[in-house]
C-alpha cells in the first residue's frame, strides 16, 4: 500500500510538446479492441461481480428481511462499536499524521528515511499479527496482563483493545498522504509567514492547513474506510462477544458462520456502500483538488 500512496516529488514542467491526437496508421486496429475487451472482462469478473453479489445476496430474502437484519439489536451495537472505534482512531491518526508530515516535510534531519519506513510498517504486517502483538502486550499472559487484571482493566477482549488494534492498522494513512503533499509544497510559504511575524500555530492554521486540506480529507477517508472495515486485527483482540465486542465486520462473520447468509450480506452491504462512498469521494478529491496542489 505504501507505494500506492507514495506520490513522486515535484517535477519540472513537462517538456513534451503538446500534440493533437491523431489516429496512428495501423493495420492492427483490432489489437486495441482486443486488449480493451480482455481488460474489461477481467475487471468485470474480478471486481464488478463480487461487488454485485453483495447486494444481490443481501436482498435475497426480500426487503423486509434486509431491514430487519440491519436493525436487529446486535447489528446495531456492532454498528455503534464500529463507529466508536473509527471515531477515536481517525482523529488520533489525523493528529499523528499532521505532526509527522510537518516534522518530515518542513525540516531536514538524519533518520528521516527510517522514520518514514517505520510509518509504513503496518502496511506490510499481517492484520492477524497486528492484533496478536496487542494480545501479547495486554492479554492475560501479556506484559501488562497481571497489572491490568489487578486493576480490573480489560483491554483485550474489550472495546479498548479493538480501538487500539484499529489505530495500529490505520495509522499510516493520513501521514502517507500528507508527507509527499507537504514535501511537494515546500517551505517557502511557511518561511514567509514566519518572517512576517506569525507564530508556529498561526503559520500552521493560516498557511499550511488551507494548502493541505484536500490531502487531509483524502487521507481521512481512506483511514476511515479501513478503520470501519478492519477485520483480521480486530478479530484477534475482540473475543467475539455478541452485542459487546463485535464490530460490524465481525458481526458479518458471525452471521455467516451461522449460515444466516442473507442477514450477513445485509450487514455487509452497509460496509460495501461505505466503500463505494469512499471511492466516490476519493476520486473527486483526487481529480479536482490534488492534481492542482501538486
Amino acid at each position: 500500500m505504501a507505494a500506492v500512496l507514495d506520490k513522486p516529488l515535484p517535477e519540472a514542467a513537462p517538456r513534451r510538446v503538446a500534440r493533437p491526437i491523431g489516429r496512428p496508421p495501423s493495420r492492427s486496429r483490432w489489437m486495441p479492441i482486443a486488449l480493451t475487451t480482455v481488460a474489461l472482462a477481467y475487471v468485470t469478473i474480478a471486481l464488478f461481480v463480487p461487488l454485485a453479489a453483495v447486494f444481490v445476496e443481501a436482498f435475497r430474502k426480500g426487503i423486509a428481511h434486509y431491514f430487519a437484519s440491519i436493525s436487529e439489536p446486535d447489528a446495531l451495537s456492532a454498528i455503534r462499536l464500529t463507529f466508536t472505534a473509527a471515531a477515536i482512531a481517525v482523529p488520533a491518526n489525523l493528529v499523528f499524521g499532521v505532526s509527522a508530515a510537518w516534522a518530515i516535510a518542513k525540516f531536514d534531519f538524519k533518520g528521516k528515511a527510517i522514520l518514514i519506513t517505520l510509518i509504513d510498517l503496518p502496511f506490510s504486517v499481517s492484520p492477524v499479527v497486528s492484533g496478536l502483538v496487542y494480545v501479547l502486550m495486554f492479554g492475560l499472559q501479556g506484559w501488562f496482563g497481571p497489572w491490568l487484571q489487578a486493576h480490573d482493566i480489560k483491554i483485550i477482549f474489550a472495546v479498548p483493545g479493538i480501538v487500539l488494534a484499529t489505530i495500529f492498522v490505520t495509522f499510516p494513512f493520513v501521514a502517507r498522504e500528507l508527507i509527499p503533499l507537504m514535501q511537494a509544497q515546500g517551505r517557502d510559504e511557511e518561511e514567509a509567514a514566519v518572517a512576517l511575524g506569525a507564530s508556529g500555530w498561526q503559520t500552521f492554521w493560516r498557511v499550511t492547513l488551507p494548502n493541505v486540506k484536500w490531502g487531509i480529507l483524502y487521507g481521512v477517508i481512506l483511514c476511515n474506510a479501513r478503520a470501519m472495515g478492519e477485520f483480521g486485527a480486530v478479530s484477534v483482540v475482540s473475543g467475539h462477544i455478541r452485542g459487546t465486542t463485535n464490530t460490524l465486520p465481525l458481526h458479518v462473520e458471525i452471521l455467516y458462520n451461522e449460515y444466516n447468509f442473507a442477514a450477513a450480506f445485509a450487514c455487509a452491504s452497509l460496509l460495501a456502500f461505505l466503500a463505494l462512498v469512499t471511492l466516490v469521494i476519493k476520486t473527486v478529491v483526487e481529480r479536482r483538488f490534488l492534481k492542482a496542489a501538486r
Partner: protein
C-alpha cells in the same frame, strides 16, 4: 528518393492542420519546412513519416504510392526534437536498434552490426561514447546519436523535427553547420522542420513557408528572402517596417517618396502596405530626398550592428533602421535627434483580400 505530396489535408477535430498541400521534394535535396507554431509543418513531416494518416491526398515515394504503407515499412529516418533515445540502452544499443529488430532473414550478423554501428558513430564523431547511457550525454551529443540511429537503417529519406530546438544557441549554430556538411557528404534526401528562419535560410537548399496549414511560398533561400510572395513571408523572414501606401498605375507612395511597383500596373487608387527591411531604410542628410523624417527613441547596440528605434514625425508610428557599427560611429546621432530616411528598396502588397492570400 523523391517525395511527392499531393493535395494532402489533415484535421484534428475542428483544427485544420493541413489544407490541400502540394509539394515535390527532389532526390538529394535538403528542404526546410519553416513556419510559426501550429502552421502545419510538423504535421506534414509526420504524414510523410507515416505517423499520421492524411484525411485526403496521397504521398508518393519515387512515384510509388506510399500513403497506406505502415510506419515501419517506409524506410524513413526520423529525428525527434527531444531525441527520443532509449534510456535503458547504451548509445551503442540505441544505434543498433533498427538493425536488431529486423526480421531474422534480413538481420545482419553480430559482427556486421558492430561494424555498422561503429561506422555511424564515427560519422557523427562520437565513437568513444558507445558504452554510455543517454542521460550521461550532452544535448548536442544526444541529437547526433539520434541521427546516427536514424541512419542505421539506411533510410531513403531523413526527416528531422525541429532537431535543434532543445539545444543552447551556440550548440544550435554548431550543429546546424555540421548537419549541412553531413548532408553534403551523404547526399540523402532530407526534410527538416524549424521555426527559426535563420536556420532555414542558412542550411537548406530550398525553403517551404507554412502558415495556417497552407504553403505560402517555396523557393531557394535567397529568393524567398529577397522576393517574398506574401506579407506573411515578408514578415516572417526578418524584421519589416510596415507603412501605409497608395498604389496608382504601377507606382506606390512610401512616406513622402514614390517608388515603382511594376506588379500593379492597373491599380487605381488602391490602398496597400509597403514593407521595408530595416537595413533598406537609409539615413540621408537632405530632407528633400527623404521618404520619412523621424525622431530617434532608442539606440540599441547589438554587437556589430546598431538598431535605431524611431517614431515617424508625421504620424508617430514606429520605424526601425539598422546600420553597421562603423557606420553608426561615423555619425553623431543621439536619442531625441531627428533624422531623415530614404527607402532603398521596398515591397508593396495591395490590401485586396484575394491578392494577399495567394499561395506561391
Amino acid at each position: 528518393m523523391s517525395i511527392k505530396i499531393e493535395n494532402v489535408s489533415k484535421r484534428f477535430n475542428d483544427f485544420v492542420a493541413l489544407d490541400r498541400v502540394n509539394l515535390t521534394i527532389e532526390p538529394g535535396e535538403l528542404v526546410a519546412l519553416l513556419g510559426p507554431s501550429g502552421s502545419g509543418k510538423t504535421t506534414l513531416l509526420r504524414v510523410i513519416a507515416g505517423l499520421e494518416v492524411p484525411d485526403e491526398g496521397r504521398i508518393y515515394f519515387d512515384s510509388e504510392d506510399a500513403t497506406d504503407k505502415d510506419v515501419g515499412e517506409r524506410e524513413v529516418g526520423f529525428v525527434f526534437q527531444h531525441y527520443a533515445l532509449f534510456r535503458h540502452m547504451t548509445v551503442f544499443e540505441n544505434v543498433a536498434f533498427g538493425l536488431r529488430v529486423k526480421p531474422k532473414k534480413q538481420r545482419p550478423s553480430e559482427a556486421a552490426i558492430r561494424e555498422k554501428v561503429h561506422g555511424l558513430l564515427n560519422l557523427v564523431q562520437l565513437d568513444w561514447l558507445g558504452d554510455r547511457y543517454p542521460h550521461q550525454l550532452s544535448g548536442g551529443q544526444r541529437q547526433r546519436i539520434a541521427l546516427a540511429r536514424a541512419l542505421a537503417i539506411e533510410p531513403k529519406v531523413l526527416l528531422l523535427d525541429e532537431p535543434f530546438g532543445a539545444l543552447d544557441a551556440k550548440v544550435r549554430k554548431d550543429l546546424r553547420r555540421w548537419l549541412r556538411r553531413l548532408h553534403d557528404e551523404i547526399q540523402l534526401t532530407s526534410v527538416f522542420v524549424t521555426h527559426d528562419q535563420e536556420e532555414a535560410l542558412e542550411v537548406s537548399d530550398r525553403v517551404v513557408l507554412f502558415d495556417h496549414g497552407r504553403i505560402e511560398q517555396i523557393g531557394v533561400p535567397d529568393e524567398v528572402y529577397d522576393h517574398p510572395a506574401t506579407p506573411f513571408v515578408y514578415g516572417f523572414l526578418g524584421h519589416a517596417n510596415r507603412v501605409e501606401s497608395r498604389v496608382d498605375h504601377g507606382f506606390a507612395t512610401i512616406g513622402r517618396a514614390r517608388i515603382a511597383a511594376p506588379e500593379y500596373p492597373a491599380a487605381v487608387g488602391a490602398t496597400g502596405t509597403a514593407y521595408i527591411r530595416p537595413h533598406d531604410l537609409e539615413i540621408v542628410d537632405d530632407a528633400g530626398q527623404a521618404a520619412f523624417s523621424a525622431k530617434v527613441e532608442h539606440i540599441v547596440k547589438l554587437g556589430s550592428t546598431v538598431r535605431l528605434e524611431l517614431s515617424d514625425l508625421s504620424d508617430g508610428k514606429p520605424l526601425e533602421t539598422e546600420l553597421t557599427r562603423e557606420g553608426f560611429d561615423e555619425t553623431s546621432i543621439a536619442t531625441g535627434d531627428t533624422i531623415h530616411l530614404a527607402a532603398r528598396r521596398a515591397r508593396v502588397f495591395i490590401d485586396a483580400p484575394a491578392a494577399s492570400k495567394e499561395t506561391a
